[in-house]
Amino acid sequence: MTQALQRWPVYVALVVVAAMSTGCATGPNANPKDPLEPMNRSVSRFNDSLDENVLKPVATTYKDSTPELLQKGVRNVFNNLSDIWSTVNNGLQLKGRDTAESLMRSVVNTVFGIYGIFDVATEIGLERHPEDFGQTLGAWGVPNGPYVVLPFFGPSTVRDTAGMPVDTSADYVRNLDHIPTRNSAMALRVVEKRADLLGASGLLSEAAIDKYSFTRDAYLQYRRNQIYDGNPPDEDELVDPSAEPAVPSSK
């Protein structure tokens, strides 16, 4: 716990330094949601090449050579651990029903699902309500702050980055006492997550003209939706330029 909290200043320093070093690099075309764009783009390139050379090949091997059933069990165990933390965050957001359901899920899956290997809770109709500390901050009105791409971790915002050390300190896997077990479990979790994204990451590079801004806009929309639990208020109304008479100009 304390170890993770000690890392807090590092995160903050990272963001502050990044903000200062690129603050003047943003031109007039800067997106107000993304003042750190030049830095974010270079971190994205770093992450992409790390992914391309290390993580993606490992995840592909994992996906192709591990029995489906085992992969599912692994996914369920990690989901079960995160349900426990979701219970706390649902509680902090005063969501009575979601707190109770998340708690029930953890209990049912730990006991009847044998430490979460089987997702019994979903079978009996208890849905997941994943919540992290960044969402809890958001639910209490803390704004996003600028979009940030973290080295290794990927898309985030200043607020979500600030929430990360809290998530980390409560992370069961990270706090395992047996260090080799801890490290293996953490590595397995990363590989499992990446394997789950294999199909979609291919889609992302095909669907986007600019992968960076596509990912950013998707992430920001996705987080906003999560904070409002799938029911965000409308932002500005979309204009429909086709509704007006199209006046072709020779511009």
Partner: protein
Amino acid sequence: MNRFLSRRALFAWILGASCALGAMGAHAAEEPADAFIKRVSSDILDAIKADKTIHTGDVNKITTLVDQRVMPNVNFLRMTASAVGPGWRQATPEQQKRLQEEFKILLVRTYSGALGQVSDQTIAVKPLRAAADDKEVLVRTEVRGKGDPIQLDYRVEKAADGSWKVYNMNVMGIWLVENYKTQFAQEINTKGVDGLIASLADRNKANARAGK
């Protein structure tokens, strides 16, 4: 953190892209918006499940499916125009036509490779919150399969002939049109409308080569 990229979210995008596009044919004049979505989604799902060649990602088959069953239920002009944004009005009718064509190819091509993943998913339409005479309605649905349900919402409008047309959709809170807006604006600001058309065409060519 990146659940919006997960494999199951991918299904939802595929289902959404296809269902958005819907089934051809008869629609009752006074069909409520939620019934419209339910009917079109089920038709598309059934068509995908019935045709094995779609599972192998046959792009021609999928394009046919989209043209026959999806496009008649979509206001694709509006979708493209709002994604392009203010730049749309600077575009000539010819450019507007090209933009729609390339955007469509991009969407179809992108989702076709993954259609094989559709298996036992079903669509549950949530209760509609709209007045009977609303011209634009939000229809909320959930894709249910293995694991967590996936949020899949549509914005539909009532066309002049009384039928419903989809003009935007979202998967797990990510609206399709909004997500293209910034990129499209970026291209238009730096390279003009023709620049955007060229970028879309390039992307489509690259995707076509990769798909071979």
